[in-house]
Symmetry: C2
Subunit: 406 residues, 2 copies
DNA sequence: TAATTTTGTCCATATTTGGGCCAAATGAGA
DNA sequence: TCTCATTTGGCCCAAATATGGACAAAATTA
């Protein structure tokens, strides 16, 4: 039950039904490939003739293609349809405080060449030229991948509404930095930029698994240097007025709590970020130390998790405290957006076996009855590289998105 | 950029453009009435012919009607179009812990007869029969109001996804109560039920003011016995998986804070509800006392606000503490959903002159830079009866809502 | 009185879906 | 081996809708 904005609407034209059904057919081919025209028609409750018209137009445009012949028990064999992943590719880039990772994927987000990385150069101009040159090298080294449809970039910070400027990326020291335009000029390719936590949510939204369908309402919580949260509402990323919605990391857990990098006190992030966990391990507030605390350089969160796995009680205790605060914060999040599922990513995913019970217990402790206590929690391991998949989704997803009407 | 759910989509038919444009035209007539066919065509960027077809169909259906002739500087005078508010009405009901209020409105939410109220009977069967009988009396007493299109009801509690059951209304003592079906049977009219805080948001969303347009992303915070929050995202109420999204009242402000009625500690609601303010005034936790604390029976929040206005330092101090916590909680809310505007309702609206500065200061204190610090705050006085208007919107809004496509 | 402007209606046209029909391909059964 | 049923995919026509232009009616202005 959406209100039509009297100042911002789109009237339907004769071409609108075709646009709508075209996107539905394309989405179905994407989700259920390989699929025949006849099957598509059955899924869509349309005549085969109408579907054929759409499909042939999509083939004409090079969006999908006809592949192998399928099998049926009787009758003429179907010609299978696929989303075209041969002639086009996308570049996914994950900018992190210390290193920048990138890979080339096809248009449904499957990696085509392995992940490459290089140290993140913080000086914007030099960073842009280095990234552009590396991308161009990979693309020219692999001309068999076909034309590059675009570059998707995720950053640990806020991005403005147009997606062209990085408003604030504290760990990179970037303030109101125009990143899109110089990169597009340097690369000659369309570029999309998004916050990394939200991109993780996008990666899950657009993931094409076989059986289990992704729900339309879920959240992704990425526990890492910071705390990134992406909220999906009705199959769409929650953006808000300035494209900064979803910053649950800076929701209060205790207004008198420890100081957070954002300047406020007791943000959720200040309790559960990797640095918070390490601080707890060392019994000292590492966030105060600039630019980087010595301990964090010597012992990473991955090391701490390994220690906990090998029986180190202090490391386990630090993680369990984090788990408790993670669960308590998740409860506020669940009360606020009532998601069908919670994805948890970041380095802490590797410690899930150690913290799951605590997270679930403290989540239930604060979750409103009578619902919301059975939220599904899915852990996304780092080996799934959710941020890079999110970056890839930035490029590929728009062509599969629903048209805007009314 | 919405994903099309491969398991739940709607294909467009030949009739789809007409459905879409019909709803747009209807929304425009609603928002800009009185308006002529030619003006409508200009707003919609369509030919007058096509608009005439739609308009005449709407007139045929009795949804809109042709009223007075308008004025132009030259040329033929237009026939103005209006949403039909003569032949149909709606009943809006606001169930509160102590009293239940109701009124009859037209289909754009304007009151037609004054507000009536009666003590809320907590025994469900008796409540249903009393409410039904009172509604039937009013409708039969005012047959000139025309046919009743439905009854909208708001309750201080959670409602299930189908809108038929009250899952939990603590202050009424209602648990998993089927309310819709018995009322529809007793009344012979369609009934809609919604949480009151969210209904307040709906009331603002569907309000038809002259000039100032309501944004598509905003929140309504109703500070009353409890703390009701309604979140509007892209012109639509945030509902979540179980229809309980938006319970920011039970987001933590301090996990070690005072006990909340929900069982958890330090919920925002426990800091800013009317009872919390009164507790602060009396220097004693009134929430613990059951069924009702003596002080709250003797001094209402309205009395406290009057005292503060007349210079009572203790009352003012209690309100100012509430203001501070209200602002701090709003900051979490702003960080989470990045709204364009915040509406604040409830009894505390009457004290806005005393608390505005503190609310704004503490809101800024925790709001992430660089955006979100200029959120517009609009206070909705009780005299606007936002809950009743929300109840009316439950009946009227569906016929103006955008069609679901793709 | 004539010209101009504005509103609302009407008609032919292009686009798109839906239904029906047909050819091709393939396996099952006589 | 031949026939028939089944399935896929393509083609044509009818129905529905927006588009574009023409036109009458109504009112003001020169």
């Amino acid at each position: 039950m959406r209100r039509i904005d009297p100042n911002n609407f789109r009237v339907a034209t004769r071409a609108t039904p075709r646009q709508i059904n075209r996107q539905i057919a394309l989405s179905l081919v994407r989700a259920r490939q390989p699929i025949s025209r006849a099957d598509l028609a059955r899924w869509m409750n349309m005549r085969r003739g109408a579907v054929s018209l759409i499909v042939n137009a999509l083939i004409e445009e090079g969006i999908i293609f006809e592949g192998a012949t399928g099998e049926t028990s009787r009758g003429r064999k179907p010609k299978f349809l696929f989303v075209d992943t041969r002639s086009r590719c996308a570049v996914a880039v994950d900018i992190r405080p210390t290193r920048t990772y990138f890979m080339v994927t096809d248009l449904v987000g499957r990696p085509l060449v392995g992940i490459t990385s290089f140290p993140t150069e913080r000086e914007p101009k030099r960073f842009v030229s280095e990234l552009a040159s590396r991308i161009q090298h990979v693309l020219s080294d692999h001309e068999e991948l076909g034309e590059c449809a675009g570059v998707g970039i995720v950053v640990p910070g806020m991005v403005d509404r147009s997606g062209s400027r990085v408003l604030f990326a504290p760990r990179l020291g970037w303030h109101d930095l125009s990143l899109l335009e110089p990169l597009e000029v340097a690369l000659g390719l369309p570029v999309s930029i998004e916050n990394s936590g939200r991109a993780c949510a996008l990666a899950q939204l657009w993931a094409t698994r076989g059986g289990s369908a992704t729900p339309d309402d879920f959240v992704f919580v990425s526990v890492s240097d910071g705390l990134g949260v992406g909220v999906i509402v009705k199959g769409e990323l929650l953006r808000g007025q300035h494209n900064v919605a979803g910053e649950f990391g800076h929701m209060a857990l205790s207004i008198e709590g420890p100081r957070c990098a954002c300047g406020a006190n007791g943000c959720w992030e200040a309790y559960v970020s990797n640095l918070a966990t390490l601080s707890r391990y060392f019994g000292r507030d590492l966030t105060e130390e600039q630019p980087r605390p010595i301990e964090a350089a010597m012992l990473t969160i991955d090391d701490l998790i390994a220690l906990a796995h090998s029986g180190d009680a202090k490391a386990l205790g630090a993680l369990q405290s984090t788990a408790r605060y993670l669960g308590l914060g998740l409860a506020s999040l669940v009360n606020a957006v009532d998601p069908a599922r919670i994805y948890i990513g970041g380095e802490i995913a590797a410690a899930w076996d150690l913290i799951e019970v605590i997270v679930r217990t403290s989540l239930k402790e604060r979750t409103l009855r009578p619902v919301g206590r059975h939220v599904e929690i899915i852990v996304v391991p780092a080996s799934d590289y959710p941020r890079l998949k999110g970056a890839a989704a930035l490029v590929a997803a728009p062509s599969f998105a629903a048209p805007v009407v009314a």
